[in-house]
Symmetry: C2
Subunit: 192 residues, 2 copies
DNA sequence: ACTGCTAACTTGACAGTGACAAGATTGGAG
DNA sequence: CTCCAATCTTGTCACTGTCAAGTTAGCAGT
């Protein structure tokens, strides 16, 4: 990652990414405006283009950052001795804590899919995901092919996170996403 | 719909919804342009506003249509005697067949959440979903609270559909979403 | 110190867009 | 036949993303 010290502005790149995350958290990715970000950062309207090329470039950088954060979160959970269930909860925790990043990470039409930085970050989080699933006791996932089991786990946590963030889940689940996730995910792993 | 060419264009509303679905399927919701839709339909740039108010109105109508289609699909599967697993597969089939609708249905920031037509359609598909889950044999979902079990099922199919559509799943899953879904969903229901 | 050099930013312009207001056209009810 | 309300058009505005060209700042080498 190219670190810049305060030239004219300071580090505009990081500032813009932060402002973008904030704006997306508030109004979603569709409403994001580069000019608005520039305004928030106190620079001219064309400044963002210099760092990210275009809008897709900015969102790609955000997505890459998101995959990095996700990998961090999963690694941290694993280091703490958590199993698959806790990795799943960590996935949801990440999605809720960084909803702007999450909202962009799985919308390829918004991104430069071939961006090397993005691909690297995706790779890192894929590995972290794979490692998390590898810790599963075979009996927990009832004899299924490990590869399929991993996809089942990924699907259920990804689905829960998406539905939670979209507000589609019933309100009687409470307002703690991690607890709710734990309940909903458990049936995949609990023994019969 | 027979081939008509009315000067006042007959059913613009339906035509625009169709064009919108097509455009979103191609380029995603973010790239959608009302003026482009108007061009495709051969009307003036301001015509869509009359039927939908604004962009959010159009997307809301699309989402409502999508919830209707989803309810239809689930009802059809249930009428054919399918269980929860097949309902799940039907959910995925719907998402893939109507990816434009699906892409919009769970992005509240693009919609008028309070639109009565939308709420009614959501209600209908919620009921269909609930009915589908209600057919589950208690032993299939291993003693979990039925309410939680339903959310688990919803999460796993929704997550699978989302990941499939975003192209995030590994390519060795094949190119048949229904077969792949069946494999990935099964671990939730299979007996220990 | 001064000379270039390059990255970081600005200024200015252009085509497209969503939204609104006001006018035109139509089918149909009375 | 008249009139009206729904449908659609025209014109306009502020705003957006992107590009081209210019400006400023840090820095290395002499």
């Amino acid at each position: 990652m190219t670190e810049t010290r305060p030239y004219h502005h300071g580090d505009l790149r990081r500032t813009l990414l932060g402002a973008a995350a904030e704006a997306i958290t508030e109004n979603g990715p569709a409403a994001l405006s580069l000019r608005d970000l520039a305004r928030r950062a106190g620079v001219s309207h064309a400044a963002p283009a210099h760092h990210f090329g275009d809008k897709a470039g900015l969102l790609t950088a955000l997505a890459a950052q998101g995959f990095g954060y996700l990998a961090d979160e999963l690694d941290r959970t694993r280091a703490a001795g958590g199993g698959v269930l806790e990795a799943g909860v960590a996935y949801v925790r990440f999605a809720v804590a960084h909803r702007a990043h999450f909202a962009v990470m799985f919308q390829p039409e918004l991104l430069n899919r071939a961006d090397p930085e993005l691909l690297a970050a995706q790779d890192r989080s894929s590995s972290a995901l794979r490692d998390a699933v590898a810790t599963v006791d075979r009996s927990e996932l009832r004899g299924a092919d490990a590869r399929i089991a991993g996809l089942s786990a990924w699907s259920i946590v990804h689905g829960f996170a998406t539905l939670w963030l979209s507000g589609a889940l019933p309100p009687d689940l409470g307002d703690n996403p991690e607890d709710a996730a734990r309940q909903v995910i458990r049936p995949l792993f609990a023994r019969g």
